[in-house]
Point group: C2
Chain length 185, copies 2
DNA sequence: TCTCCTTAGTATCGTTACGATACCATTTAG
DNA sequence: CTAAATGGTATCGTAACGATACTAAGGAGA
């Protein structure tokens, strides 16, 4: 087996390992994926539609997953003030508490134990591969707000930012969250 | 978000991307995973049990997946001469043909386009992470036969090898396949 | 204003995945 | 010769998923 195939095999196995960790505490992989996304996305991106794009799934499936999380009290829906078709999603306190028990923490600890050089090599490789996917039209980057070309930092005083696309002020904490609309500067 | 979290997020997204590619040509992700495994495993490892261990799944689920592949003619079962409880699985010609259409090829091409340095960094990182999993008792390495401590190379002439664990001769082509029993030399 | 199209999300269907449990046949240990 | 372990299958219930159809709200053009 040549080196290329070996790399792909390792990616497949890692993917399977991640999927297999998604069955803890009564939740399913897609439910964990949704919880994690909602914990990291800014308020404009916490919608069923953005979640659908992030997961690369379909809106029917995501609607079902979100409803199941709502039913068990981990997620709440609220009206979107600007658009009555749309829904704003948010984690409940129970949702945040559930994230503390996420089995992906074991992966996080394993990453911590890597040498800095190894971790950086891993990240660079994943970044490059996912970048190729996006370049080929396979989704959106979902990058951090702060690195977006529509981000105006400290435009209204220190720690008071602004999104030029959505014409909305941004708190400092939001600048580190991921966004559906993000485009690299 | 610190560097560690960023790496984990990229792994999650890669895992999801791989899972999403598994819905092509009327098959499901688990079915593709099974096909790929059966194309790379040596004859001792092409059993429902070994596949269960490789996928980190349960035997009931795997039994069902294998039956679905058998029903559509991509996989065949045969008796295991040494143990009548056990079953030997093999891809049919249609199964091999289906693999040619595997969407994971797009990932393979993306890996091809990486610089050698980036690819090696990616592979080293994945190798280290999966190694930690195995060290923690989370599965078997499923490494290549040739690199196993039970492998006796060219023990019976050039290209005629032998497995000291299973007491079986090994053809040259089998030395490059993966094995349920493999332990690093 | 009145259409027509688009967008955001839900409802439903059929197949598969998956863990869990129970079960059967065969092999192996004592 | 029995008891335990092993390799698989059968079945159940929940969730995932693509597909399709649907509702409601927003937007564009006459």
């Amino acid at each position: 087996m040549d080196a290329r195939n070996r790399t792909v095999e390792l990616i497949e196995r890692m993917a399977r390992a991640v999927a297999n960790e998604g069955h803890a505490h009564g939740l399913k992989p897609a439910q964990w994926d949704a919880l994690r996304y909602l914990s990291r996305a800014n308020r404009f991106s916490r919608t069923p539609g953005a979640l659908t794009a992030y997961l690369g799934s379909t809106k029917g499936t995501v609607s079902q997953t979100v409803m199941s999380l709502e039913r068990v009290g981990l997620v709440e829906k609220a009206a979107n003030p600007g658009d009555r078709r749309s829904v704003r999603l948010a984690l409940t306190p129970a949702g945040w508490a559930m994230l503390e028990k996420d089995e992906i923490e074991t992966l996080r600890h394993a990453v911590d134990e890597l040498s800095n050089e190894t971790r950086q090599g891993l990240e660079a490789g994943l970044d490059a591969l996912l970048g190729k996917r996006i370049a080929a039209g396979g989704g959106r980057p979902f990058g951090m707000c702060r690195t977006c070309r529509h981000f105006a930092g400290d435009s209204d005083g220190p720690g008071r930012h602004f999104c030029r696309l959505l014409h909305q002020p941004l708190a400092d904490a939001e600048a580190g969250q991921i966004c559906y609309e993000q485009e690299a500067a």
